[in-house]
Symmetry: C2
Subunit: 341 residues, 2 copies
DNA sequence: ATGAAAGCGCTAACAG
DNA sequence: CTGTTAGCGCTTTCAT
């Protein structure tokens, strides 16, 4: 009739509730033979544990900390906002947020070292790619804290998972789009990055160049601008490039500071042949630019999915549950003017 | 310290647990004054009910039925598979699936009338747009069953919500992509539909033509093919069109039967100038076609999100919870070769 | 109109 | 190694 419970399993296996609980949670202290009987009974009944009841009974709060870059970066601020708003909603989990100066590995390392392992079970961090950060992260792990990287990864570090999009693929996607948009119009493509110090930017650029070179050979890629995710720097630098070259067919902005792209474009505005533009992250500004036709496409990562995945993975890590190897992989979303959410 | 419970609220308001429960669930039998005291106490404590505990105690199964079109349509079969696989996972909800002949309004109306209102609390149905279906649906509602349409809507019927993508927007998105892909290559665009009897196909076509006409005037739209979501019909018809017109620049396949598009393309294959192709729904076949370069983009609706939304909305409807007006809206996803999940 | 008490399915001491 | 027992926060009879 209704779903079998541990009572049913216990009865069928001829053991007590505690024993069921032990095998269910992989705790030690059960004979092989007993364990086998229990598994057999579960299989036979098609038992599925009721996670809600388990959480209710456990009544333990996992304490998670999110470390995000400071600054006016709309995407990060949006992420932070979602985090604060949803913090209440996660039952059995307490979530704190802290900001750290952007593109500053020393500051990030310090923030990681400042984490109190007695008051924190898990950390999600937007990583800066550097040795001091790797070292600080390793220390944190040694103190028994679970760690995942978020949005930007830190490979060959001791982080347990990376939650975010595949940034090489994101760059490739941008090239597929921009290349097609510019087809039949040979010219120059300019890449606007934030800083090659963060892994995600470096990876996006890599993927972008791979595909553009291989499949859209009539486009020439100019040296990448580094705008430090600052809209003023981006606007100034990009304007200079647009003014110097007459035949820019496409712009790929792979970091933040996207408002700067829109400003440069608005000031520059030639009568014809507006360059095709692909940028990252859906924000109020990039949305507006899509709507008014100055951007063609936005490559996006959904912050809600990202924080959900980070929270779930950290919970699993902390509670010793198994986690699928690709659990942190978030889909790369593509938005045009017409499929805006 | 930890979150306040109804015990805390009861103590502060000076009433019993049952009274709290009554006001919490909007049951009658509480004096205005008492109710006000309880609300005040909740506010003061920042009380948030624990939904898991509530469900655990309620222990009631909502019985839902999904009515899907039969046939070899990969998208629908995928949806059905997800439904079966996840049925177990939904606690406190029993899910059944039934298939109905596709594009057959009489059969669908009969299936709706065959629903037993005593064994079914809610129905999600992929609708065919017709009067008999509207009538059958109304009867079902009259018998107290909650109804949402799924994937394809039935406007001005008594369905309570529509769960799916905005199909006009989806068509517009396809045109934005295909128009850009074909820019600079004036020619003809062919639309491959399933049947205009289902609302989603009609709406996609509408949106597509709107944008293509308005923004990409150098493309001429040929009369739409109706392939009844059957790959053989699609292959034959499309091949004929490709052979007759030498200057087809783009193909938009807005229904199922996408395998037929790939076959027609493979047989036709001219040395140069492959048409740009945008199709709907990510399936093993469309994925393969993206990878081998015969399709350029896939417009997708995520079946997992759709069934989750349908289940949650039906649950809310049945339990008398409030539902956001846009709760059924699913995002339109765009996939290229490089952002495949 | 209000309250007391017995669970829902599972976990967590504490005994054996 | 295994069992007993008392809850987790909420709902639900059944009294009052």
């Amino acid at each position: 009739m209704s779903r079998p419970t541990i009572h049913d399993v216990a009865r069928l296996a001829g053991v007590s509730l505690s024993t069921i609980d032990r095998v269910l949670n992989g705790r030690r202290g059960v004979r092989q033979a007993t364990q086998a009987r229990v598994f057999e009974a579960m299989r036979e009944l098609g038992f599925q544990r009721n996670a809600a009841a388990a959480n209710l009974a456990r009544r333990r709060q996992d304490r998670l900390l999110f470390l995000l870059p400071a600054g006016s970066n709309s995407f990060m601020r949006g992420l932070e906002r979602e985090l604060v708003e949803r913090a209440e909603a996660w039952e059995f989990t307490a979530i704190a947020t802290r900001t750290v100066p952007a593109f500053d590995d020393a500051a990030l390392a310090q923030a990681l070292r400042a984490v109190d392992p007695d008051a924190t079970d898990g950390v999600a961090v937007v990583a800066t790619d550097s040795a001091v950060v790797r070292a600080a992260l390793a220390e944190l792990r040694d103190r028994g804290v679970a760690v995942v990287t978020l949005v930007s990864d830190l490979p060959s570090s001791r982080r347990q998972y990376f939650v975010g999009i595949d940034n090489v693929q994101a760059g490739r996607t941008a090239a597929s789009l921009l290349g097609r948009f510019c087809r039949g119009r040979p010219g120059k493509i300019v890449i606007v990055a934030g800083s090659m110090l963060v892994r995600d930017h470096a990876e996006r650029r890599l993927g972008f160049e791979q595909v553009l070179r291989a499949e859209f050979g009539d486009q020439q890629i100019l040296p990448a601008l580094e705008g430090l995710d600052d809209q003023d720097i981006v606007a100034t630098e990009l304007k200079r490039v647009l003014d110097r070259h007459g035949d820019i067919t496409g712009i790929y902005s792979l970091g933040a500071g996207t408002r700067g792209v829109a400003r440069a474009l608005a000031q520059h505005r030639q009568p014809q042949a507006r360059p095709s533009v692909v940028v990252h992250e859906l924000t109020p500004h990039s949305r507006q630019a899509l709507l008014d036709g100055s951007f063609d496409a936005v490559i996006h990562q959904d912050p809600v999915r990202e924080i959900s995945a980070a929270v779930e993975i950290l919970q699993s890590l902390i509670r010793g549950r198994a986690v699928a190897p690709d659990a942190g992989r978030i889909g790369i979303e593509v938005f045009l003017r017409d499929n805006l959410p």
